[in-house]
Symmetry: C2
Subunit: 403 residues, 2 copies
């Protein structure tokens, strides 16, 4: 593959957070009506001013700086003492022990963990099963390493218990030779959680076919009332090669520190460390110290954060449904993935018009797979009042452009 082609697949033109680099195409000729005034809301990511970083996180960072050289230069996989703390806590959270010395690596964000995990398992010509819709980087990573994507549909609409993965397609993917399965749980962009039955079936299939599973559990702490969650790694029947990814960037609002962790099969973690040595050496040494606050927040803090997010979720779901726009109620995390009706403008132009006419930034569904062009993703970890008003403007704009 020519290097030009390799990078063609990595387009970031519609990627969340890159809106400010988007060329100011002239869309005024498509514009219907004037602007709708209101507080701008950037739903492409959570607002860490509305939901602030974990209490004590800055102090933990300052402790890291004061610790000096030994904190600045850690092993490539991260400081041994911090790995020990984190391994204990993620082991307890996920229900199965993690060996701090061999089974865990600290990375620059969960993105860093995902990159290393895919790089450690996928090379030219490898088939990789990928859920549609799912986090956009999964697909791009497979393409970058020369892998071949085998799609597995997530039929999330109209369900309220199962996530809706098509297990027949997953088995067919394994039969066709897929060596790796990458998925997020809770699913990004829909916020649905895989049921115990689904996770057990995934684990059983992967084990039977000898496939590696990479499960991105970034949002698995922020779970709403009535949601039960199954950690694949805690099942007795699970694949031999399994990497679980988590990090404090979302529910804990620590994204500015770029921290993530991957834990699982020791030989894969070892590969990931070898690669991290030439990718970025290590997660910033001082930043690593912030992980001391992770899973150690003040009593009741996470519960309150969940309660506040659930209240926003419920108001936004009501607003969308009240306007006749279908949306599944997310069971965890802070993404909403409503479906828009047929519009007079293309989906990317609508997102641009939305930004210019209402000050609302949403991520087009095309980023998450080819079957969700008519949806937009909203990260509703925002100021409650501003978010409700912004979604009302969004709904009003949909009405304007509806066919």
């Amino acid at each position: 593959m020519l290097i030009e082609d390799k990078f063609m697949t990595l387009a970031t033109d519609n990627a969340p957070g890159q809106e400010m680099r988007s060329k100011a195409d002239n869309i005024t000729h498509q514009m219907k009506g004037g602007t709708l005034i209101g507080t701008p809301v950037d739903f492409s990511h959570g607002d860490v001013d509305a939901f602030e970083p974990t209490p004590g996180s800055f102090d933990a960072f300052a402790d890291g700086v004061h610790a000096g050289g030994k904190q600045a230069y850690t092993e490539y996989r991260g400081s041994a003492s911090i790995r020990s703390v984190v391994a204990g806590r993620v082991g307890a959270f996920t229900g199965a022990p993690v060996d701090a010395n061999e089974e865990l690596i600290i990375t620059p964000g969960t993105q860093g963990a995902l990159f290393l995990a895919v790089a450690a398992t996928v090379t030219n010509g490898d088939k990789v099963a990928i859920v549609q819709p799912d986090y956009f980087a999964n697909r791009k990573l497979v393409q970058f390493f020369g892998g071949e994507m085998v799609p597995v549909i997530l039929g999330y609409e109209g369900k309220d218990h199962d996530a809706g993965i098509n297990l027949n397609e997953l088995e067919q993917a394994f039969e066709a030779g897929a060596k790796v399965f990458v998925f997020s749980n809770p699913n990004n962009p829909t916020g649905v959680v895989y049921s115990k039955t689904e996770i057990e079936a995934i684990a059983k299939l992967a084990k039977a076919y000898g496939a590696t599973v990479i499960v991105d559990q970034l949002y698995s702490r922020l779970r709403y009332e009535g949601t039960s969650y199954t950690h694949l790694r805690a099942l007795s029947e699970r694949p031999n090669n399994l990497i679980t990814i988590m990090g404090p960037s979302k529910s804990e609002s620590l994204s500015g520190y770029r921290l993530g962790a991957a834990f699982g099969s020791a030989h894969l973690i070892e590969r990931m460390e070898k690669l991290q040595a030439i990718v970025s050496l290590r997660a910033s040494g001082y930043n690593q110290a912030v992980l001391n606050t992770w899973f150690n927040e003040p009593s009741g803090w996470m519960e309150e954060r969940i309660r506040l997010h659930q209240a926003i979720r419920d108001d936004l779901v009501s607003t969308f449904r009240g306007a006749g726009l279908p949306v599944r109620v997310p069971q965890a995390g802070s993404y909403l993935f409503p479906k828009l009706p047929a519009l007079e403008v293309g989906p990317h132009d609508f997102v641009k018009l939305l930004r210019h006419q209402t000050g609302v930034i949403a991520t087009p569904g095309s980023e998450f797979g080819p079957h969700s062009l008519d949806s937009v993703r909203l990260n509703f970890s925002q100021d409650h009042t501003a978010a409700v008003a912004a979604v009302k403007r969004l709904v009003e704009l949909v009405e304007r452009y509806k066919k």
Copy 2:
């Protein structure tokens, strides 16, 4: 290539900073004599407790945290306002302007910049010219992306003006189809600086053959008395595709913040940003704010830092030469690369014995190329007294194991 083989080339067993993970092989049967007592010195990297981070760096970080969401979530290539500051300063330093919007990316350390630059220019089967000896990651990166390394010898010994690059070999590499040339200037591990004649010749050859040049100038600020430095990017006759890499991890002791910058050809910077989006998203947002201190240190601060390093350099060079061990005087940076005589033990075992018997950590020459197995690299950015005592113990151990 099988993925197992791909990762075989990425061994980190002897990589600097990974000594604590090195399996405790039993080397006592090879041990001659007892231990030599003294303050332990880890020459694998600089000691940021002996040479502290730039004054004001922590305050700049704190300002970043207080700025909140807009600093936590920057564009993937880094905050626009910080890029603007950095572009102005590196443009002035290197003698040619840098467009902040199109020609610069902020990365997690210079390692992050090097990774992205090689990934943006090298793919399966591409030939890449690599200097021997040079920074170990250059070779590993080329191998990881399936490139083919074409070695170019740096005959640094016995010279005191030219770095010693074999320009005939470089031209042969280009003739043989090398599309990319990666090198560090000042050279890591030897500390030699390429002369104006050499840099002009490299630029001319690369331009003539249409090759891309990636030049790692990490240490180009810490230059000793009498050293002149030529920035390749400021030459009027230079290659069309050129990336220059710098960062504040070394001379400025800001390694704990993991910051780097790459600047040059806009289309390559664009590829690097697309890739950064799936590698780590961005350099930690808050950390980026620390770049506001870069090239803006208190008056006289860098001059004093250079003076102190030059004094250590001179004492260590005298100690090595006094014991009959050849070493070229580094013109910049803080690496020494002395040559050891024939020993009764292998070079990796000697490094282990050195660590166990004297508390001195050095990096084996094998990390930098196949022709320097008889050298060791020392980063002498250390406490002056401790460093001199440590090198005396090293020299004493060499005497013990000399054939």
